[in-house]
C-alpha cells in the first residue's frame, strides 16, 4: 500500500511540475515572438496611444514574474484573453472547437481499438508456432508500410478513393453524420498498424505460455482461451502504449482536420499561426499539451493499478 501511495503522489507531483512548465512555455510564446505583441493586438491602424493603452491593458509594462502570475491567475479562471483578429474571447473560440476535436479523437480511438485487437489476435492465431510464414511476412510488410504513411497522406488517398472515385462519403466539412468516417479513419490508420503488431507479439507470447498448454489439454473451448487468457494481456499491452497512441491521435487529428476542413482545434491553431493570432495559438497549445500530459498520467496510474510491477520500475 505504501508503495502504491508513494507512486500516486510521485506521479501527481510530476504532473504538477509538467503542467507548470507547460504554462510557462505557452506564456513565453507571446513574449518570444519578434515584434511588439501590444502592437499586434491593437491592430494595424492603431495610434501610438492605442498601443500604449493596449500594453498597459495586457500588463506588458510590468515585470515578467508579475506577468506570469497574472497569466496563471487568468488561466485558472479560464480567461484566455481576446483573439487579436476577431476580438472574441479565446475561451469561446477554443471551447466550440475542442468539442469537434474530441469527437474526432474519440472516434479514431474507438476505431484503433476495434480494429487492432481483432486483427492482431487473428494474425497471431494464424501465424503461431511458425504457421503461414508467408502470411506473417505480408502482415509485417503491410503494417510497417501503413505505419509509415503519415496521416495527411492517408487522408488524401482516402478522400480520393472513397469520396471521389466511389462517392460513398462526403469530401469535407462536418455537417453530415457520416462526414466523421474518413477523418477518423485517416487518423486511426497509423496507430492501428502499430498497435496490431504489438497485439500480435503479445498474443504470441501468451500462446507460448505453459498455462495455455494446460488450458488446451483440459479442453477449454478455444473461444474462452482467447477471451480469458489472451485478451487481458493484450489490453494491458495496449494500455502500456496508450499514452503514445493518444499523442499520435492528437497529432494526427491536428493535421487531418486541415484536409477535411474539420472545424476543430487543428484548423484553428493553423489559421491562428498564419494570421499571427498568438493568444489562440497559446490557448490551443496549452489545452492540447495539458490533455496529452493528463492522459499519460492517467495511463501510468491505471497501469500501476493493473500491473503492480510498473510501480517498482517507476
Amino acid at each position: 500500500m505504501a508503495i502504491w501511495l508513494r507512486f500516486v503522489i510521485w506521479r501527481l507531483v510530476r504532473l504538477g511540475v509538467v503542467l507548470l512548465v507547460l504554462l510557462f512555455a505557452t506564456f513565453m510564446i507571446v513574449r518570444l515572438v519578434p515584434g511588439d505583441p501590444a502592437r499586434l493586438a491593437a491592430g494595424f491602424d492603431a495610434t501610438p496611444q492605442d498601443v500604449a493603452n493596449m500594453r498597459a491593458e495586457m500588463g506588458l509594462d510590468r515585470s515578467l514574474p508579475v506577468q506570469f502570475a497574472d497569466y496563471a491567475g487568468h488561466i485558472i479562471k479560464l480567461d484566455l484573453g481576446k483573439s487579436y483578429s476577431s476580438h472574441e474571447p479565446v475561451a469561446a473560440i477554443i471551447g466550440a472547437r475542442l468539442q469537434k476535436t474530441t469527437e474526432l479523437a474519440a472516434a479514431a480511438l474507438a476505431l484503433v481499438m476495434l480494429l487492432s485487437v481483432p486483427i492482431g489476435i487473428t494474425a497471431a492465431a494464424l501465424t503461431r508456432e511458425g504457421r503461414h510464414r508467408r502470411g506473417e511476412l505480408i502482415f509485417g510488410a503491410v503494417t510497417s508500410v501503413l505505419g509509415a504513411v503519415p496521416e495527411y497522406l492517408a487522408a488524401t488517398f482516402l478522400v480520393f478513393i472513397f469520396a471521389l472515385k466511389l462517392a460513398w462519403l462526403p469530401v469535407a466539412g462536418s455537417d453530415d453524420w457520416n462526414s466523421i468516417v474518413l477523418p477518423a479513419l485517416a487518423v486511426a490508420i497509423t496507430p492501428t498498424a502499430h498497435l496490431s503488431r504489438i497485439v500480435r507479439v503479445t498474443t504470441l507470447n501468451v500462446l507460448a505460455q505453459d498455462y495455455i498448454r494446460t488450458a488446451r489439454s483440459k479442453q477449454l473451448p478455444r473461444r474462452l482461451l482467447y477471451v480469458r487468457h489472451v485478451l487481458p494481456n493484450v489490453l494491458t499491452a495496449a494500455l502500456t502504449i496508450g499514452g503514445l497512441i493518444f499523442a499520435s491521435l492528437i497529432g494526427g487529428a491536428v493535421i487531418v482536420e486541415n484536409v477535411f476542413a474539420w472545424p476543430g482545434l487543428g484548423t484553428a491553431v493553423v489559421q491562428a499561426v498564419i494570421s499571427r493570432d498568438f493568444l489562440v495559438v497559446q490557448a490551443a497549445v496549452l489545452l492540447l499539451g495539458a490533455a496529452v500530459v493528463l492522459v499519460n498520467t492517467i495511463v501510468d496510474l491505471a497501469l500501476g493499478a493493473l500491473d503492480p510491477r510498473s510501480l517498482v520500475r517507476a
Partner: protein
C-alpha cells in the same frame, strides 16, 4: 557478429534483404532527380498557360495540368530537390542540436543528467508535429521557420538516444580501463566513446531524415512551410487538395512522391540498422521463434528506440 568495415556490412545487408536493393535503386533515382530535376523541368514547371488549365493526363502532359495550366509531372519532379534539401537540412540541424545536448548530458553530473532526461521525456510526450507548429508560431512560417521547427521538434529524441548510448558505453570495461590509466574528459569522449556509438547514431540519423521529410511536408501542407512561388511536395499537396475535385492528380502526384520517398528512406535506414546488427534480420527469418520486439521498426517518431533496444540485446 561484426565482420568487415561498416560499408562492407552495409553492402551485405542491402544485398541479402529483399527490400535493400530496390531501396538503394530508388534512392539513387531520387538523388539523380534532385540533381537534374530543376535543370531539366523547372521552366515547364512554372510556365503558366490558362488555356490548358486543369487538363486530364495526355501525351504532352502525362499527369495533366494544374489550375494554372502548369505541368504536374514537371512540378513534382522539380520539387524533388527542394523537398530533399529541406529534409536533409532539418535532419542535420536536429542531429547537431540533439547530439550536442546528448553528449553534454552524458558527461554531466548524475543529478543534472536525470533532470535533463526528465525534461526530454516531457518533450517527447508531445506529438512532434504539435511541437513544430508551436515553434513555427514563434519563428514565423516559411522554409527557414519550418526547418528550424522540425529540427527543434526532433532534437529531444536524438539527445536522448545519444546520451543513453554514451552512458551505456561509458560503463564498459575498456572505458573504465582508460579512466584508470588517466585518460580524461574530452579525449575519453572523442577516442573511446564516440567511435563506439557513431554507427548507431548514423542509423538513427537515417531514420530522422525520413521522419523529417514527412514532417516538413506536413508543415508545407498546412501552409506553414515553403511559401509561393517556391514549391516543395508539401506545398503542392495543399494546392492539390484544394482542387481535388477538379484535378485529382495535382494532389496524388506529390502525395505519392512523399510516401515513396519516406518509404525509401525508411528502408535505407532499416538496411543500415541490419548492417549494424545482423541479428535483426537473421532472427526475423528465424526458426519458429517470435522476435521479442517491443515496438515496430520505422515507428515514425521514435525510430531510434528500436535500434538501441536491439543493440543492447546483441551485447548481452
Amino acid at each position: 557478429m561484426r565482420r568487415g568495415s561498416f560499408l562492407m556490412r552495409v553492402a551485405r545487408a542491402v544485398w541479402t534483404s529483399p527490400t535493400g536493393l530496390p531501396a538503394v535503386v530508388a534512392l539513387l533515382i531520387l538523388v539523380l532527380l534532385a540533381v537534374v530535376g530543376p535543370v531539366l523541368w523547372s521552366s515547364a514547371a512554372v510556365r503558366i498557360d490558362l488555356t490548358i488549365s486543369g487538363q486530364p493526363p495526355s501525351g504532352a502532359h502525362p499527369l495533366g495540368t494544374d489550375r494554372l495550366g502548369r505541368d504536374i509531372l514537371a512540378r513534382t519532379l522539380t520539387a524533388t530537390r527542394l523537398s530533399l534539401e529541406l529534409a536533409l537540412i532539418a535532419a542535420g540541424l536536429a542531429a547537431a542540436i540533439g547530439f550536442a545536448f546528448g553528449a553534454l548530458l552524458a558527461i554531466a553530473p548524475a543529478q543534472l543528467r536525470t533532470l535533463g532526461l526528465r525534461v526530454i521525456e516531457v518533450l517527447l510526450a508531445f506529438p512532434a508535429i504539435l511541437l513544430a507548429i508551436f515553434v513555427t508560431a514563434i519563428v514565423g512560417r516559411g522554409a527557414h521557420g519550418a526547418v528550424t521547427a522540425i529540427a527543434i521538434a526532433f532534437a529531444p529524441s536524438l539527445a536522448r538516444v545519444a546520451s543513453n548510448l554514451a552512458a551505456s558505453v561509458a560503463g564498459e570495461e575498456y572505458v573504465l580501463a582508460a579512466r584508470v590509466i588517466g585518460v580524461g574528459g574530452r579525449r575519453l569522449f572523442l577516442r573511446y566513446i564516440l567511435p563506439n556509438i557513431s554507427e548507431t547514431l548514423i542509423v538513427t540519423l537515417s531514420f530522422v531524415v525520413s521522419s523529417s521529410l514527412l514532417a516538413i511536408s506536413a508543415l508545407g501542407f498546412l501552409g506553414l512551410g515553403v511559401q509561393a512561388p517556391d514549391f516543395d511536395w508539401g506545398r503542392m499537396l495543399t494546392e492539390g487538395v484544394a482542387a481535388l475535385y477538379v484535378q485529382p492528380s495535382a494532389a496524388l502526384a506529390p502525395a505519392v512522391a512523399i510516401a515513396a520517398t519516406g518509404l525509401t528512406m525508411g528502408l535505407i535506414g532499416e538496411s543500415l540498422a541490419r548492417a549494424m546488427n545482423p541479428r535483426i534480420w537473421t532472427a526475423a527469418r528465424g526458426r519458429r521463434r517470435p522476435i521479442p520486439r517491443s515496438s515496430p521498426p520505422g515507428m515514425v517518431l521514435t525510430p531510434a528506440l528500436v535500434v538501441s533496444a536491439d543493440e543492447e540485446e546483441e551485447r548481452s
